[in-house]
Amino acid sequence: MWEYTKTVKDHFLNPRNVGVIENADGVGEVGSLACGDALTLYFKLDENKQIKDAKFQTFGCASAIASSSALTEMIKGLTLEEAEKITNDKIAEFLGGLPKQKMHCSVLGRDALEKAITNYRGEAEKKVEGKIVCECFGVTDLEIKRAVTENSLNSIEDVTNYVKAGGGCESCHENIQEIIDSTLGREIKAKKKVIRLTNIQKIKLIEETLEREIKPALKKDGGNIELVDVDGNNVLVKLHGTCATCSASQITLKHYVESKLRELVAPELLVEEVQQ
C-alpha cells in the first residue's frame, strides 16, 4: 500500500477545480491511456494577465489526481512568468511529499503547465526534441537529462520514478545509465571489448580459469573439477569429491562454474556435467 500524506488524500478524495474551461486561454494535454495517466489542464487569464481560473481533467491514480488538483490551486493568481517557475518538486512539496515511485505524477503536472503556457503564447508546440530512449513510454534523452539535473537523480530506478523511462521492457536501462553518468559528469565505463577467441585460445583460457579461480574455491569444500572436453560453447566437466555426491549443490555449483567462465572467458559458454 502506498503511504500518501493527508494532503494527497484530501486532494484525491475532494479534488479542486475539476472540469473544462470553455474558451480557455491556454490548454495543455499530456500523457495517454496507454501510459496509465493523462492530464488536461485549462487556464483563463484576467485583464492583468494573471491566472484567474484553472481547471483539470485527469485519468490516473490517486497521486496523479491529487497532483493535478494541487497544481490548479497553486497557479491561480499567478502571472505566467511566475507560474513557469513551478517545478515538479514544488507540486510534490505542496502535497506534503509523494512516494518516490509516484514522482512522475508531479512531473506530469509540470509538463501540462508548460504545454498550456506554450499553447497560450501561440508558440509552436515544442517538437519532440532529442531522441527517444525509452520506447515503452516514449521518453527522450533530453527529458531524462532534465529530470536528472533538476532532481539530482542518481539511479535508473530514480529516473523511472520521475519520468517513467525504463519502467517497461527495461531494454533501455544501459542507455539511461549512460545518460545519468554523462549528466552527472561521471566517467562512462568503457564498454567491454568483444574479442573473438580462437578455439585454442578459448580452451586455454577455460583451463587457466578453472585452475586459477574455480579449483581453489571448490577444494576448500573438499571438491574438485576436471575439464573433460570443450565442444563449441559447451564445457564438459567432471566433478569429484564432495561435489559429486551432493545433489543439492549441483545447481549452485554448475551455476558458479558457468558464471565464472562466462565472466572471465566468454558469455555464451554452457557448462555440462559428465557422469563419472
Binding site: L33, A34, A38, T160
Partner: protein
C-alpha cells in the same frame, strides 16, 4: 469501520476452527515431533493427522505430501527437482500467465542455460494448447502450468495436459495454489507428478504450504538437513501451522459444495449487478471455466488504484491489475498476455470471495461502486470523448 474483504485470492481469514486447533501447540504442547519422549511424540501424531487430512482433500496418499513453508517453496522445489533429475534436458515450458513464483524462476533459468517456452493465452485467458503440445520435445525437462489463474480465475485443462505429458514421459508440475479449496481435486484421476499448494489461500495460516510428489517421481530436496519429511525437506516442523493446514483441509473438503453453490451465486450476483449498473464494464476471462469465487472486471477509462482507494474509504478490500498498484509501471502481465486493451487493463479490479462473505456485503459493494466509477469518469479526460 467494518471491513468487507473480497480479496481472498491474495489471502484468507484463518478459520476460527483452525486457529482454535493451532493455539495449544504454541505454549502447551510445544514438544519437538522428532523427540523420543511422549511429550514430543504426541505432537508427531498431530502432524500425521494433518498430513492425512490434506491427503484426503487432494485424493493423495499421505506419503506423497511434503509439507513446507509456502507455495513459492513448493514451486521452486518442484522445478529444481525436475531439472536436477534430468540433467541432459535443457528445455522447460510454462505459460505466460503464471504467478511470479514460477514466472520469475523460469526467467532466471532462461538466463542460466535453459531454453524456455512461454505458452500464450487467448483474449479470454485460455491456454493455447496446440502451441503447448507443438513445443514439447525430448529435450523438455519439465512442464509447469498453473491449475487456475489468480487474476482472472480461469481454470486450465490440467487433466488433458497431464494425459498428453504422461504419454510423452515429461515431468508435469502444477501450481494449484488458487485451486485448492475452491474446486474439487482428485489426484488419483489426474496425471500430475508434482502439485503446489499454500495454506493461507484456503483459511489456513500463512507460512505453511505443501508439495505433492507422486509416488515414483524423481525428486531431490531443496532444503537438506534433518530427517523431517523423510529427508525430503529438512527443518523443524512449523507444528502449529501444519496442524492448522490439516484442519483447513478438513474444512475445505466439507465446504467445497458450499463454495461452488453459495459463493458462486454471490460472485455471479456481484458481477451481473455491476455490469448492469456500470456502462463500459467488461469481465476479463473465460466465464465458462472459472473459479467460483473470482471475477475480474474492467471499468474502462478509469484507473484501478483510484478505484481501490475510493473503495477503501468504505472498507471494501479488493485488488487491481493496474500498473499503479503493482509498483511497476505496466499493467499486470496476466491482463497483457490476454491482450486486454489499455483502456480496460488499467481499470481492472479483481474481486475474490470466500465462504465468509455475506449477501449484505455484496449488496453494499453493488451500491457503493457505481458512484465511485461515475465520479472518476467525470474526472477523466477520456470519458466524454468516448461517449
Amino acid at each position: 469501520m467494518k471491513v468487507i474483504y473480497v480479496d481472498n485470492n491474495a489471502t484468507t481469514q484463518v478459520a476460527p476452527e483452525v486457529l482454535e486447533e493451532m493455539l495449544p501447540y504454541f505454549n502447551e504442547f510445544y514438544g519437538n515431533p522428532s523427540s523420543m519422549h511422549t511429550f514430543g511424540g504426541m505432537v508427531e501424531h498431530k502432524i500425521v493427522e494433518a498430513r492425512e487430512r490434506l491427503a484426503g482433500l487432494l485424493g493423495a496418499s499421505p506419503e506423497e505430501i511434503i509439507i513446507n513453508s509456502c507455495g513459492t517453496e513448493s514451486d521452486s522445489t518442484a522445478i529444481r527437482a525436475a531439472i536436477l533429475s534430468n540433467p541432459d534436458k535443457k528445455h522447460i515450458l510454462t505459460s505466460r500467465v503464471e504467478h511470479p513464483a514460477v514466472k520469475n524462476l523460469f526467467e532466471y533459468l532462461s538466463k542460466n542455460g535453459y531454453r524456455v517456452t512461454f505458452v500464450p493465452v487467448d483474449r479470454k485467458g485460455r491456454l493455447d494448447l496446440d502451441y503447448l503440445y507443438k513445443n514439447l520435445s525430448e529435450d523438455t525437462a519439465i512442464v509447469s502450468i498453473m491449475w487456475a489463474n489468480n487474476e482472472s480465475g480461469v481454470i486450465f485443462p490440467i487433466e488433458e495436459i497431464g494425459g498428453v505429458l504422461k504419454e510423452k514421459e515429461i515431468v508435469f508440475h502444477t501450481d494449484a495454489v488458487q485451486a485448492v479449496g475452491k474446486i474439487p481435486i482428485d489426484l488419483k484421476n489426474v496425471d500430475v507428478d508434482m502439485f503446489s499448494l499454500s495454506g493461507h489461500k484456503f483459511h489456513g495460516p500463512k507460512g505453511v504450504g505443501a508439495l505433492y510428489v507422486r509416488k515414483g517421481t524423481k525428486y531431490s530436496p531443496f532444503l537438506i538437513g534433518g530427517h523431517q519429511e523423510k529427508g525430503r525437506r529438512g527443518g523443524t516442523e512449523n507444528v502449529a501451522s501444519i496442524i492448522g493446514l490439516g484442519k483447513a483441509s478438513e474444512l475445505a473438503a466439507a465446504n467445497l459444495s458450499d463454495e461452488s453453490i453459495r459463493v458462486k451465486r454471490l460472485r455471479d450476483k456481484l458481477e451481473t449487478e455491476l455490469l448492469n449498473r456500470i456502462p463500459n464494464s467488461i469481465v476479463n476471462g473465460d466465464i465458462e471455466n472459472r473459479l467460483p469465487n473470482t471475477t475480474s472486471i474492467a471499468f474502462e477509462y478509469v484507473e484501478g488504484e483510484a478505484i481501490l482507494l475510493m473503495m477503501d474509504e468504505y472498507g471494501i478490500c479488493a485488488s487491481s491489475g493496474s500498473a499503479c498498484t503493482s509498483g511497476s509501471l505496466e499493467p499486470s502481465h496476466v491482463l497483457r498476455a490476454m491482450g486486454v486493451p489499455f483502456t480496460a487493463a488499467h481499470g481492472s479490479i479483481r474481486f475474490s470471495l470466500s465462504i465468509y462473505n455475506t449477501e449484505e456485503e455484496i449488496d453494499f459493494i453493488i451500491e457503493k461502486l457505481p458512484p465511485i466509477i461515475e465520479r472518476l469518469r467525470e474526472l477523466s479526460p477520456f470519458w466524454k470523448k468516448a461517449q
